[in-house]
Amino acid sequence: MPQPRVVLKNCDVIDPKRIDSYLENGGFKALAKARREMTPEQITGEIKDSGLRGRGGAGFPCGIKWEGARTASGDAKYVICNADEGEVGTFKDRYILEKDPFTLIEGILIAGHAIGAKQGYIYLRVEYHYLLDHLQNALNQVKQKGYLNGFSLEIREGAGAYICGEESALMDSIEGKRGEARYRPPFPTTSGLWGKPTIINNVETLMNIPPIIMNGADWFSQMGTERSKGTKVFSVSGDVDKPGVYEMVLGSPLRELVEELAMAKNIKLVQIGGATGRILPGDKLDTPLAFEAMLGAGAVTVYDQSRDVIDIIHRTMEFLVEESCGKCTPCRQGTEVMVEVLAKFHRSEGSLRELRNLEALSSAMMLSSLCGLGQAAPNAVMDSLQYFRDEYEKRVAK
């Protein structure tokens, strides 16, 4: 079944270096419509009705977030575009930024109009520094054409920290601090950047805004499942013949993505959502790709039958230990303990008692960690224990 292109519709169609090429393909019509024909309330209403949910991993309803910031009182408000994708196996935003920076900027400007913000930031991960000039060039052209209309949009670059993809840590980073998660509430919509009402949206979320404004909420909500509307862009890598970026209607089966599009064979397991994501065994490929099943930010890493589950989970936890910001104890210490236990199993020196401890620790971390990193850190461990428990048991010290 051919998949529609909503988010990627301009990729490899327009010349991302020339705004005229974007304008020839209908660029900035949505912004004009939003500014001239719609009130902020109508815009947030349209986004709410569309059912668009955040594409950065958490899946929070975008319209509700915008509504919260629109109705929040404050002299200054901010729009932040989260271009800090750091989840293991994610590269879709890099692809989007390379191929179509203009739609993103248009989405940010519509967001600004909708919540009454006059200032915005694109927070770009420093690992993508080679995209900075490209993005700045697009922004300069948008400015020259007069589309900013008094809105100040600035690119801020990170300095290397996975946790800064987490929204509250990202705001701390823009404020020039260590990127550490904040206690919530208050939520960013009422108290975000410098304590002002702020919306933070992933690159892909904002890419959906211009098409929704142009075509309407009904058009958008026809695509997908009951709780997952529209399309999703996936980053597929690992043991596949055709790694790359694929856009699919939400609810499509995982099998179509990994076997038909990415050409994977002999799948042992698929990791969906990167290090904090979920694990599915090869016999569950008919699972739909949707928020109600599993999705994350759309990182899909495929492992074939030659791979060792314990090795994969151990490496996943090593990543999380390094990237935990260290602010809260369950995450800082929990990931440390987990990696030690997993290392023992990796060396075939595990014990059944430690297996039970892993499960108890997982529950504690999920319940008590400050942000999504610590809460989701045990996912891969728990899923692998559910589907590949025998591999752990085989590694118990004799």
Binding site: G89, T90, A159, A161, K177, F319
Partner: protein, 146 residues
């Protein structure tokens, strides 16, 4: 260290990360003296500047080589034999991750996912992306950095 460290006139607290990056661009790392100077010019405690400087992986408190190699060690690259690439760099330069060559030309580090998984194995040298690496390519690539 008069004049060292502070490059632009102080604006505000939010510039700290950017100012540390400027410092690093200029000196190859963030020297202790620069931390003290930044703290003074931004009117914030030294430990706060140190805390930020030590938090981010692209900021370094110890001197680095003129070029910094960062080979990705995360799973998608690992599946595509990133370890062979690491060995090739080690062999070519005679240093292991965390070290700098005696002539100061290269530092070698390992890095978590850099979002080039569709072209794994991958690495960054300074800010340049190098993808679809093979041990043979490593030699050629390294030659192009002085």
């Amino acid at each position: 260290m008069a004049g060292k460290g502070v490059i632009t006139p102080p604006r505000d607290r939010a510039d700290l990360v950017e100012r540390l990056k400027e410092t690093q661009r200029r000196y190859g790392h963030v020297p202790e003296e620069a931390i003290a100077e930044l703290a003074e010019s931004l009117a914030i405690p030294v430990h706060e500047v140190y805390g930020v400087a030590s938090f981010y992986s692209f900021l370094s408190l110890k001197p680095l080589g003129r070029n910094v190699i960062r080979v990705c060690k995360s799973l998608p690259c690992y599946l595509k034999s990133a370890e062979v690439i690491m060995k090739a760099v080690e062999k070519e330069l005679g240093i292991v991750p965390g070290e700098t060559t005696a002539d100061g030309r290269f530092s070698f580090e390992l890095i978590n996912c850099i979002g080039l998984c569709d072209h794994a194995p991958a690495m960054l040298i300074n800010h340049d992306a190098h993808v679809d690496l093979t041990p043979q390519k490593i030699k050629q690539i390294l030659k192009s950095y002085e």
